[in-house]
Amino acid sequence: MKIIVLLKRVPDTEAKILINQEGTGIREDGVKFVINPHDEYGIEEGLKLREKLADGSKVTVVCAGPEEATEAIRTALAMGADDAVHVCDPKLADPNPFTVSEVLAKAIQAEGFDVIFCGKQAIDDDLAQVQSILAEKLDIPQVNNATAFEMAADCRSAKLSRRIEGGDEKIETSMPAIISCDKGLNEPRYASLPGIMKAKKKEIRKKSLADLGIAEVPGTGRSRVLKWLPLPKGGECRIVAAEETVDAVRELARLLREEAKVI
């Protein structure tokens, strides 16, 4: 079985994000980049499936991203993935979800696939579009925000759960399918030291757009980011004080009603 796991390189959740001067992106100096945390659930699920099948199935990482994404790819290989495809092209400098999905679809088709796992969204832009566009392009079912996954014995279908408001939704899907993974699905393993040493020898196949037979960057012109702006500074803080707490509360309620008009 060919198990594909998708990976995006994103700034660390804890990184302090500053917009660059031109307003075209973030300042990358001093920012730590990691595997998109939701994608880690996808990688883990792919590895678990391979271990369960134990029939020579392979886990292949597919990533479209800059040169620097190699470190994140290497981490996934250190966790245990078998090999990787890295689509890296200067034309992909400012990709939108449509572009990325088109590129990933081509790369995945070239690899062949039986199941695709990815995170439910990337934590940097939070767009959560790639899995759906990809499902359309590959013409396969998608199940989003999975919190449980179980492949049928014949590998032709799978049972899944997804968390919804107030409960769980049980789903059955045919295979191949694309599964976007949510927290709770599994506990991603650490990249162990022996894993890291082995990862050095694993293959990362670099591909340009031309290698994938893509002449023009697709999807540009559909939507584009005009400008990145920092959050507006918070307004002034007013402290409502009074000798008796009850009076302060009364005053606060009046201000919220009459001035802020929120209650």
Binding site: E14, A78, Y190, L193, P194, I196, M197
Partner: protein
Amino acid sequence: MAYQPLDFYNIEELLNEEEILIRDTTRKFVDKEVMPIIAEEWEAATFPKSLIQKMAELGILGPFVPAKYGGSEASYTTYGLICQELERGDSGVRSFASVQGSLVMYPIWKFGSEEQKMEYLPKLASGKLIGCFGLTEPDAGSDPRSMITRAHKDGNHWILNGAKMWITNGSMADIAVVWAKDDEGRIRGFVVHKEDKGFSAPEQKHKVSLRASVTSELVFEDVRIPADRELPNTSDLKSPLMCLTSARYGIAWGAVGVLQAVLDEAIRYSQERIMFGKPIASFQLTQQKLAELATDLSNSQLAALRVGRLADEGKMKHYHVSMIKRHNVNAALLGARKVRGMLGANGITLEYQAIRHMCNMESVQTYEGTFEIHTLILGEHLTGISAFSNT
């Protein structure tokens, strides 16, 4: 906000991909597995044994040992970075890894027979066996040659008598690498099993330092062990000292982790703590302390990395290690005390890390060659005259 240690000189650029990956994976492990429990374990004076299997799975016990013995053949720089991250968690956790790797696996790898290596090393790397190292005695610390523990050859057996003290992991160890003098006064190394008759390892209590670490006495009363438990390739005192050089190297990196931890804590605290209507970070006395800490950290880090590179090129000498152990641990001890003070009354509680690291560093300053002995090793190197040798 998660832990983001200062990297003032952009030392990240000097590390290769493998080094960065293993540092990050160890850091993540410490964040998730050590930080949530360590203050409680420290207060209760217990070593978190649940970490052993997890560390083994990460592959960080004796990482420099060849793969056929269960190691990862990692570089010494990588080993240093592992120690740095573990000690950021707690010196007790790093001490466990130092002893298991540098003081138990290292001597078996370097001085053991092939059979001994195959028997012990994979089990030590996978955490199935826990080891300890017995050199120091109640009356033989800085001067190990004055040890009184004796090994007498009796046919196909050795008989051990004596006592060791201040032995990390002692009471929970399955095996002990023990150093004893034979009838001719030559120091030899032995592997003692916890089941060996006449061997006991009572725990030493009431420590105010390294509380999340097991420290023990080892007692040998006519312990009779087969001759093939002797490590065949030792050369007198030089052999245990080689183990110590390896461990001390890791300790110097561990001190970097402590400096990173306390500086990180000091910067956050001083930016948040308001006094006289402004953050205490705006006071010159605070800024001076932060500047000094950052300088000590950056200097310690650069020195450790340089010695790591020397080790990987096979050029590291024991006096290189003496300089970084002496300098970095002293800087970490003084740094942790400084941050303890910056945190005011809050700094005396285990809610914050500084006092735990401060108390731990009192041990680290003393063990594995005291600050003073390392001073004299450097003095000997510079002058050719030993100030402590009794020969």
